[in-house]
């Protein structure tokens, strides 16, 4: 009866099982956000693993569960991977308890990525809010490491308060870079704050970025994105010039578990990166 069996050898991979990663560094970004630097335990994977800016992965704390986060480091800096986590729920609380040397699970990379080839030669306008800088940061580092491929680079980043600014070390580096126009703003300043005060969409209109030969890439809290899109429209950016990365409840990352669909699209497979033009054509408003 062995002849009745089908050859399954090509399908033997367990798609749910993560690789082990060691935490090599933990950075406290703000009171509730941490960045983790991680490295594959298996040395061969350090060599063979590749991803593209904008892709995400599923991270496990064994016994607590699994959650998706974008890879916030750049493929141009392959020494290790980075991801950033705001403490909100069960898995994120568990991640925040971990220290260098601890092991986590990692599955990925999943999803699509920022359209690098469509950004080449363009002036790039990055608009980030809060932890929403994490996916943009991967792309920013990617672009800065191939600086001559791109036109002007403007980074507008805002947070609720100076204490809520993430990636301060990057903000400083970018601020010192003569080839980057860096604008940082906070909703509410404090006694020591010397920078801009104002909401991201308002500051965006103030700086009056030109849409000519430009692409805007934005990520942040939903409310910020909504008003940022309006401001970009005022500045005459067309929907095909605006890109964002969406957040949806994702679980499997494989297009199977049924949560993250917006109409027929699965954010985990067809996204998470979409142009505003694509978003305007979504058949559903459920995101």
């Amino acid at each position: 009866m062995n002849s009745l069996k089908t050859d399954d050898s090509a399908r033997e991979k367990n798609i749910y099982q993560p690789h082990l990663m060691e935490i090599i560094k933990v950075i406290s970004e703000t009171g509730d956000t941490k960045t983790f630097h991680i490295q594959f335990v298996e040395p061969s994977l350090r060599e063979t693993f590749s991803f593209l800016s904008g892709q995400f992965a599923e991270y496990s704390v064994f016994g607590e569960g699994e959650a998706p986060f974008c890879i916030s480091s750049s493929p141009t800096r392959p020494d290790h991977l980075e991801f950033s986590v705001k403490r909100i729920g069960r898995v994120t609380h568990a991640l925040h308890q971990l220290n260098p040397g601890d092991l986590i699970g990692f599955r990925g990379p999943y999803g699509n990525h920022f359209p690098l080839d469509r950004l080449k030669g363009k002036n790039l306008l990055f608009i980030g809010g809060g932890i929403g800088l994490a996916p943009l940061r991967s792309l920013i580092h990617n672009v800065l490491d191939n600086r001559t491929d791109y036109g002007d680079i403007t980074i507008l980043y805002g947070a609720r308060s100076p204490q809520d600014l993430c990636f301060k070390y990057d903000l400083e580096t970018w601020g010192r870079n003569p080839l980057v126009k860096m604008i940082i703003t906070v909703d509410v300043g404090d006694a020591d704050w010397r920078g801009k005060v104002g909401l991201v969409p308002v500051v965006l209109e103030e700086i009056g970025a030109s849409p000519n030969g430009a692409v805007a890439i934005t990520c942040g809290p939903p409310i910020m994105i909504r008003y940022t899109l309006k401001s970009l429209e005022k500045l005459s950016f067309s929907p095909s010039q605006i890109w964002t990365t969406l957040e949806m409840k994702m679980k499997c990352g494989l297009g199977k578990c049924g949560r993250c669909n917006i109409g027929p699209l699965y954010v985990c497979k067809d996204g998470p990166v979409f142009s505003l033009e694509e978003i305007l054509h979504f058949s559903s408003d459920e995101f």
Partner: protein, 334 residues
């Protein structure tokens, strides 16, 4: 290839198969029809379909995926194997076999799921033509032929003397090579055994093309979905009993010194299914009901060129508040 077999010989054949495979046939357990290990019992005549779809034999309600331990104090993650061993299921209905193909398209695409695919490939599907139209069903409207199917290894039609068998795969052909039990038959004999299930409708309830277009068109109509979902109590039984519903959750079980991750059924009917840290895109009940119907009749078609409903009628027959999907489809197609 066509063969015929007497009733007693069918039992003998299934009994012999037990030496090489796990053999499941229809049986009543706790008053409900299901599939159970064959113990030489008669093949029941009054079996229409199982209460729970056979999907659970392929996409288990709970499936352990991998485990972790701490041998010598260091974390080690080990895969848990997909199920092994041949199975034979006799008596499956054409609707449920089609549903297994629909699930296959999902679990084979992009990232092949070894657990589902292995369960499918290790199982010989032996189907049987329906004699009675099930309560609440609309299979023929969904393009399912209750008297014929190519979704099996072997399809059987009951005749007064026993069964006619039509092999549809190489594996099915191989199984029918028991010349001591099976006799030669022909396409003519097969065609003559075609019958019409008792209780089947003369006129179809609806036209599927119009339903597809209607569900797509109704998507933005908030009032349409609110009206139909008003009495839904979010119990999720429609998704639990549905042979094509496949939404799942991934959960951890941590025990002292070890743990495992498992995949378990979940349901788009539940409010927390899509709940995120600060936002839930389908918090309102009408959105969840719209998602279920639109997924099956519209989105799934866009992605797989098939409809994720086989018209088995389980969701119609067992909804505690009589939310009849057929009424929703009829109204959408109007």
């Amino acid at each position: 290839m066509y063969r015929k077999i007497a009733k007693e010989n069918l039992k003998k054949w299934l009994t012999d198969l037990k030496t090489q495979a796990e053999v499941l046939t229809p049986a009543k357990a706790n008053g409900l029809w299901t599939y159970r290990n064959f113990d030489g019992r008669d093949i029941p005549h009054n079996f229409q379909n199982s209460r729970l779809p056979p999907k659970g034999l392929f996409l288990e309600s709970l499936r352990a995926l991998f485990e972790w331990k701490f041998p010598g104090g260091s974390l080690e993650v080990r895969p848990l194997p997909a199920m092994d061993g041949l199975r034979v299921i006799f008596g499956l209905r054409p609707c449920d076999a089609r549903a297994l193909k629909i699930l296959e398209s999902i679990f084979a695409r992009d990232y092949p799921d070894v657990f589902y695919l292995r369960n499918l490939s290790r199982t010989l599907l032996l189907g049987q033509a329906c004699r009675v139209q099930c309560e609440g069903s609309f299979c023929s409207e969904m393009g399912i032929d209750s008297q014929d199917s190519t979704d099996f290894d072997i399809f059987f039609r009951e005749v007064p003397q026993g069964y006619l068998a039509r092999a549809l795969t190489a594996r099915g052909n191989a199984l029918l090579e028991r010349r001591d039990l099976f006799e030669e038959s022909s396409a003519e004999e097969w065609n003559l055994a075609q019958s019409k299930p008792r209780g089947s409708r003369e006129q179809p309830l609806f036209d599927l093309e119009r339903v597809k277009a209607g569900v797509a068109k109704s998507f933005p109509d908030e009032n349409f979905w609110k009206r139909f979902s008003a009495k839904c109590i979010n119990c999720g039984i429609c998704t639990y009993l549905c042979p094509t519903c496949h939404c799942f959750d991934l959960c951890d079980l941590q025990m002292p010194g070890q743990g495992m991750r498992f995949r378990c059924w979940d349901s788009c009917a539940f409010a927390d299914f899509t709940k995120m840290a600060v936002h839930n895109p389908r918090e309102e009940k009408w959105r969840r009901y719209r998602q279920r119907v639109s997924h099956k009749f519209h989105f799934f078609y866009q992605n797989f060129q098939a409809i994720a409903c086989v018209g088995c009628g389980r969701c119609v027959g067992h909804c505690p508040v009589n939310l009849d999907l057929r009424q929703v489809l009829l109204e959408a197609a109007r």
